[in-house]
């Protein structure tokens, strides 16, 4: 230990706390879980394929036929265009909801007066199933892009806002004390203590928000101008082409899973101390 050159100087406390060492058990566990999951997927898809062929094709399709439909939609480019269009609404709406939700959530969580001024409205709107206002929104914004954007945004903003606010309220008083002990100003307390401490809650809000964004997007596409994945579902539904209808549905599921996983990764990255 004493003769080791500087760059290699081992960290003396490694063995006690290295998370890598602890992780060996869980890694084996993880592999097992992945194996079981794969088997489960194969079995379910297989059953679907077999049983789906027995049923009236109007009611249920089956994987191989859906793949065919996907292929032809890829050739025509239809599916890509729909994904692009929906993605635009989704990402912009989510971004807007994040900015508004986090900013308002920080203020509501920190300042009693802001909370008192807004909490009744926030709670009422959070409790309202906001799909109910879609017809109203189309009156305000027409059937274009801005209507979709508004719907996606307003549906996602509340879980983000509410989680952010409760994150701020739940900042441990001992962290606040540290800031005060070092004579931090209100602004410094906000930026260096409250925001990082509330971050895990914010990320949870974002994860919930993403799910709601997708719901909002599909609903908006059902009711407003033709376009995007929601419109594809309507179109093939009207044509009684069930296999083709499954393509955008499964695409939506995939988008939901991917985005949620992405936020989860971000959660681990930004709040490693909450990992376990």
């Amino acid at each position: 230990m004493t003769t080791v050159a500087e760059p290699h100087r081992a960290q003396p406390d490694d063995d006690a706390t290295d998370p890598q060492l602890e992780a060996i058990g869980p890694v084996v566990e993880k592999d097992r879980a992945a194996l079981i999951r794969t088997i489960s997927i194969v079995v379910v898809l297989g059953l679907w394929e077999v049983l789906g062929r027995q049923v009236n094709p109007l009611l249920l399709s089956y994987p191989s036929k859906i793949l065919q439909a996907l292929w032809s939609m890829m050739l025509s480019g239809e599916i890509f265009q729909a994904i692009l269009e929906s993605g635009k609404t989704l990402l912009l709406g989510f971004l807007l909801a994040t900015v508004i939700g986090v900013a308002l959530g920080l203020l509501i969580g920190r300042y009693r007066s802001v909370e008192a001024a807004t909490d009744w409205l926030v709670n009422a709107l959070y409790a309202t199933p906001l799909v109910a206002i879609v017809p109203l929104v189309t009156l305000w914004f027409g059937l274009g892009f801005s209507a979709k954007l508004f719907i996606v945004c307003i549906i996602a903003v509340f879980p983000i806002l509410i989680n952010t606010a409760s994150g701020v309220r739940n900042v441990s008083s001992s962290f606040i004390d540290v800031g005060r002990a070092f004579a931090a100003t209100e602004r410094e307390t906000f930026v260096k203590i409250i925001m990082p401490a509330a971050l895990p809650y914010v990320m949870t809000g974002l994860r919930l928000g993403i799910g709601r964004c997708i719901i909002g997007m599909v609903v908006a596409e059902f009711y407003t101008a033709v376009g995007g994945l929601g419109a594809l579902i309507m179109k093939y539904g009207n044509q009684y082409d069930t296999a083709a209808m499954f393509v955008p549905i499964l695409t939506l599921a995939l988008i939901g899973v991917l985005l949620t996983a992405l936020v989860r990764r971000a959660e681990l990255y930004f709040a490693p101390w909450k990992a376990n």
């Binding site: 290295d18 962290f175 203590i193």
Partner: protein, 290 residues
Amino acid sequence: MTVSTAPAPIATGPTRNRPVKLKVDRVSKTFLLRGERGEPPSPFTVLREMSFDVREGEIVSLVGESGCGKTTLLRIIQGLNRLDRGTILVDGHAVSGPGRDRGFVFQQASLLPWRTAAENIEFGLELQGVPKAARHEKARSLLHLVGLEGAANKYPHQLSGGMQQRVGLARAFAIEPAILLMDEPFSALDAQTREVLQRELLRIQAETRMTILFVTHDLDEAIYLSDRIVALGAHPGRVREIIDVPFPKPRQDLPILRSEPEFTRIRKKTAEIIRNARSPEPAAGQEKTP
């Protein structure tokens, strides 16, 4: 037995000629405890008319049984809690809130979990606007000082309790406060680390001339580190007696010092005062099981 309610009237000991750095003047604090089931809130007096001085460059220890208000007093001095009556004076000026002239080492390390050890140490420096390079340099040397060179980039949850406590120590040292308030900083450490850090504290203090108010349960530690010991009574907390520790500084290591008859004498006396403080001064305050 004599109860000193006023500050020690005649300054004694080797530090007696130094100017007063920190003056705790008749400080009282009462918490309102929320009443259960519709009962009205009841006042609970934690500190009553507490007075003592800490002179420049002195280490003074506060000892007293658990729950006698040591943490509360330290928090009041730091400006984290309000006092009800009395004054805290630093260099003769009353203080009313937190300031960087005072540093605080918490009983629980209270590290910020989203910051690495080094970043935690740099926290106060950041607020002071110290440039990045200087901050890093300082964090590195402080990590070395507390024996955590390898832990710079680890997060608190990756550190043991003792290591966290050492980071908390380094964080307070970093801003080089004129007065350092330490709330049982070594109580969570193993005996060996504790001894190392006690010695380091004495060395750093001798170097920086920092004024230190130190809370501890460990009488050996109190005697080893302190120029004077303030023994507190409980319920409500008040100053019982102020005991001089006459050993000159720099001091011999604790094991050697321990064998001095004077050490034993002080230890015995202090223990007695604390023990007696428990038995009633009649009707002193509310009964509360510690």
